[in-house]
């Protein structure tokens, strides 16, 4: 898929790119949100990580954005790239047009320019959904570990791969209407712990956490989350499955 979308590297002179960046500094009372254009010369293998750092180093040192791993694994740099929630660090400019529009991820608290406070929201969601293994048995450090079927371990990891980047929330119709909707990130976590035999919670317990319109019944199945998830998590299947399981509990 990726190779089909990718343009051939130009044989001629490098492109001049225009990055239109939505800027706003909430710490500055005089700041008004506005698009600001920056021009740079495209380089071979340039990512938005490289482009934004070059702009900050050479043109505008006040520009705010977040990168950590710059390898597509930490989830820090999600933003709207030409309107679509994606990870900026692994987006190559050669896959984009000459004019690129960047905006901060919607829904989350704005820190400044392209930087948003996903961490605060994710911690709150984690506390609310109790996204940890619930098990009262003390862990024995000296004895053989509990056994687990290899396929089950792999199935748990499949859901454990979420990087809490916030793309699913930014792409979610329900989240636009219901501020407290837990989103695909929250529902996927419940699916992950539900699958894990080390977690002693029952479906009744999970129903208490997500059995309402702010949980799994709030989802309108628009599934923008599934389309934009940079880790290709099976969100569509997981949400549908959870909804069925929770509906059963609701009827009882």
């Amino acid at each position: 898929m990726i190779n089909i979308l990718r343009r051939k590297p130009a044989d001629q002179s490098p492109r001049r790119l225009t990055l239109n960046i939505l800027r706003h500094n909430p710490a500055d009372p005089a700041s008004v949100p506005q698009l600001q254009a920056y021009e740079i010369e495209e380089a071979e293998g340039m990512t938005l990580f490289i482009a934004l750092n070059e702009i900050r180093a050479t043109q505008d040192p006040s520009l705010q954005f977040d990168f950590v791993c710059r390898a597509g694994i930490c989830g820090s740099c999600a933003m709207l790239i030409d309107g679509r929630p994606s990870l900026a660090c692994r987006t190559l400019t050669r896959d984009l047009g000459k004019s690129i529009t960047l905006a901060p991820l919607p829904f989350f608290e704005l820190i400044g320019d392209l930087s948003v406070n996903t961490g605060k929201w994710m911690r709150g969601t984690s506390e609310r959904l109790q996204t940890w293994i619930h098990n009262q048995t003390p862990i024995s450090l000296n004895t053989l570990e509990e056994r687990m079927e290899p396929e089950l371990a792999e199935a748990i990891y499949e859901l454990d791969r979420c990087i809490e980047c916030g793309c699913c929330i930014a792409g979610c119709g329900t989240a636009q209407m219901r501020e407290k909707f837990v989103g695909a990130v929250g529902l996927n976590k419940i699916a992950r712990f539900r699958l894990d035999p080390r977690d002693n919670r029952s479906d009744d317990d999970f129903y208490e956490l997500i059995g309402d319109d702010e949980g799994v019944f709030g989802c309108m199945s628009l599934l923008g989350c599934h389309d934009v998830c940079p880790k290709q998590l099976p969100l569509q299947t997981q949400i549908a499955y959870l909804r069925r399981k929770m509906a059963v509990i609701g009827f009882e």
């Binding site: 990726i2 190779n3 990718r6 500094n25 710490a27 500055d28 071979e44 293998g45 180093a57 050479t58 040192p61 006040s62 520009l63 977040d66 990168f67 950590v68 791993c69 710059r70 390898a71 597509g72 694994i73 930490c74 820090s76 692994r90 190559l92 820190i111 400044g112 406070n117 996903t118 961490g119 605060k120 994710m122 911690r123 984690s126 109790q130 940890w132 293994i133 098990n135 862990i139 024995s140 450090l141 000296n142 004895t143 053989l144 570990e145 509990e146 056994r147 687990m148 079927e149 290899p150 371990a153 792999e154 748990i156 990891y157 454990d160 791969r161 990087i163 809490e164 894990d196 977690d199």
Partner: protein
């Protein structure tokens, strides 16, 4: 001035800091964690391939135990590490893996029966025991005698970080995110917490704590080409250095990872080679067996990285428009294996190189990867020089890794050291030394001093650019303080870094954005990073030998007679331009494993005069005890268990005990 009080202040929200916080919290301490970023975004998440622990559940891990893990680790360190610490570590690593399993880490498991693997470019069928089915499995990694690296696909660090971070949420430990410790509050004797800058508002706060733990990771970003995340700037180590009383240990010991994708520097895991991947040159020739007939691609990282650079210098590098590189070939592992066990690697290759590693070779070249050096601590993580200050993880020089760390031992160190240091912090808080008599004037003075520094920098009309200084420093470090070093280049590097340090006092800002102006943050950090760069470079210049990752082509032999010692770098006077170096002797007479050949790499070390006598002693003890229990023999050679918290002293069960 806002003052926040706590028992324990943990600076750093990666695996080491989180695990230490959990230990202290469990013992009843009030704990606050500071983190530059949301903790789940820490660089711990980037550990791909796995964590070493001698569970011995697999066919190729059978017979593994702490003794073998210990020897691999000491050999890997080129005898530069602390052997007592290595013993504490290998003993605790299996407990850490099992604890993490209880917290939800979906470790890959043993599938009983036959399975095809690639070993040394041959397809081999291994048969896993029925009795091992469902236990935690392991893969091969460099510099190890057994397959010992427990893993979760190639997202091991991610899975561990999420489990441990979720645990801290379960325990209600607050993490103050987007906070940076900018100096330690201390009186030259005791540490009382830190002055902290809010990276959203730019405000300075005082955190007053009975115990402070630095767990801020490594400092790879002083190099141009590094696998490290952009937040790995070493500021935690730098603020310890700037106290003037806390030394940084072995800063010249810097690891270069053989397989960073070229030129972006993003890591692809050692698991690629562990699972059967090969290194190839411009002709497609597999060259590592020519240099290392025994371990081949799976010698330790320092050796493989050095051989790769030498091979490129001999004219055998492939090249693209960015320069020369070599190839990592994992095509023989097959699509199913890569899609399942090396999926991050595949994603990285697709996203950053536009290639499919199931069909194409990956361009790689060694890049800076790990800082063996850091805040010098004792075996319990207490920092030298200041009571009440602790350090753990990559930020510390505990000193598990000496001059070269084995793959899979760092992510293991984070949690193991966290388990041990967290207890030590809790112990400290329960002793009279853990009580604190802090003067409000001291706290205010520290706050005002930092506040004045930031104001002065923000208002500076100096002529220097922070980003230009940073880029120059990074270029010097990669060119002159890299894999192959020598006196001439190091002298030139020290000279230029000294000039850059001087110039950094004249940085001027172009912007004055309210809030935490990123330009101000960068300007402030580069001054600290230059001091770290000087510790690395000056330490490397003075160390006239080659040991582990520190290789001098003008002093190519390991010299145990002169250099079996640890470098301690102090910055006592803020105006000094190079660190003051002192040395701490590693005592051969107490080593369980006296210095020898590593089993790979060069074998021409200059012996220490005590080595032969200690070898004889060890031999005598071993023959006297004959076939006694291995734990008893070990205890007679070098007792260590008394150094561990009591609940971590128990023996580790293995499948073979149950057979």
């Amino acid at each position: 001035m806002d003052v926040i009080h706590t028992d324990v202040l943990v600076i750093g929200g990666g695996l080491a800091g989180l695990r230490a916080a959990l230990g202290a919290k469990k013992r009843g301490s009030k704990v606050i964690i500071l983190s530059l970023v949301p903790p789940k975004r820490s660089h711990s998440a980037a550990a791909q391939g796995g964590m070493q622990a001698s569970l011995g559940n697999t066919a190729k891990g059978a017979g593994d135990n702490e003794d073998i893990h210990f020897e691999d680790t000491v050999r890997g360190s080129d005898w530069g590490n602390d052997q007592e610490v290595a013993r504490m570590f290998v003993h605790t690593a299996p407990k850490a893996v099992r604890e993490l399993a209880g917290w939800g880490v979906p470790w890959n498991r043993v599938q009983a029966g036959p399975r095809d693997v690639i070993i040394d470019n041959q397809k081999v069928t291994l048969t896993e025991a029925e009795a091992a089915h469902g236990l935690i499995t392991a893969r091969d990694f460099g510099g190890t005698k057994k397959w010992r690296t427990c893993y979760v696909s190639d997202g091991t660090g991610h899975a561990m970080l999420y489990a441990v971070s979720d645990r801290t949420i379960a325990e209600g430990i607050p993490v103050h995110e987007r906070m940076e410790a900018v100096s330690l509050i201390h009186d030259g004797q005791r540490c009382y917490g830190a002055i902290v800058r809010n990276l959203i508002t730019g405000k300075l706060l005082a955190y007053v704590a009975r115990a402070t733990c630095i767990a801020t990771g490594g400092f790879g970003r002083i190099y141009q080409s590094t696998t490290n995340a952009v937040i790995n700037e070493g500021i935690g180590a730098a603020i310890a250095l700037e106290t003037g009383v806390v030394p940084l240990g072995n800063m010249e010991a810097v690891q270069f990872h053989p397989t960073a994708i070229f030129p972006a520097g993003i890591l692809v895991t050692e698991g690629c080679r562990g699972d059967g991947g090969l290194l190839r040159d411009v002709d497609g020739h597999r060259f590592m067996p020519d240099y290392e007939p025994e371990k081949k691609e799976l010698a330790s990282r320092d050796v493989v990285a050095r051989r790769m650079e030498a091979h490129i210098r001999s004219g055998k590098g492939a090249s693209n428009r960015f320069g020369e590189h070599l190839w990592l070939d994992i095509t023989q592992l097959g699509e199913a294996h890569i899609n399942g066990k090396l999926r991050e690697v595949k994603e990285i290759c697709q996203n950053f190189l536009g290639i499919d590693p199931t069909k194409q070779w990956i361009p790689v070249r060694p890049a800076q990867h790990y800082s063996m050096g850091g805040v010098r601590t004792d075996a319990h993580g207490a920092a030298r020089g200041l009571t009440g200050l602790f350090a753990c993880g990559e930020a510390a020089c505990w000193d598990l890794h000496g001059f070269n760390r084995l793959g899979g031992n760092s992510v293991a160190e984070t949690v193991v050291a966290g388990m041990i240091v967290g207890e030590a912090i809790a112990d400290f808080c329960k002793t009279p030394a853990g009580d604190m008599h802090v003067s409000t004037a001291l706290v205010r003075d520290c706050w005002e001093q930092e506040s004045a520094r930031f104001s002065a920098l923000a208002a500076s009309r100096g002529t220097e650019s922070a980003s230009a200084l940073l880029q120059r420093m990074q270029a010097i470090m990669s060119e002159k303080v890299g894999i192959v070093r020598n006196g001439e280049a190091l002298t030139a590097a020290v000279d230029e870094l000294k000039t850059l340090l001087l110039r950094s006092r004249d940085i001027g800002l172009r912007s004055s954005a309210p809030g935490a102006n990123p330009e101000l943050t960068a300007a402030w950090r580069v001054q600290k990073m230059l001091k770290l760069a000087l510790c690395v470079t000056y330490g490397a210049l003075q160390r006239t030998e080659s040991r582990g990752a520190h290789f001098r082509d003008d002093f190519p032999r390991r010299d145990d007679a002169q250099w079996l010692k640890r470098t301690l770098a102090y910055w006592r006077d803020p105006d000094q331009r190079v660190p003051t170096l002192e040395y701490e002797t590693l005592d051969v007479r107490h080593m369980e494993l006296p210095p020898g050949w590593r089993g790979y790499g060069a074998r021409d070390a200059v012996p220490h005069p005590d080595t032969e006598r200690r070898e004889n002693e060890v031999e005598q003890i071993r023959s006297r005890l004959g076939d006694a229990e291995r734990q008893l023999i070990q205890q007679s050679l070098m007792p260590f268990r008394h150094l561990l918290p009591t609940h971590l002293r128990g023996l580790n069960a293995r499948l073979e005990d149950h057979a």
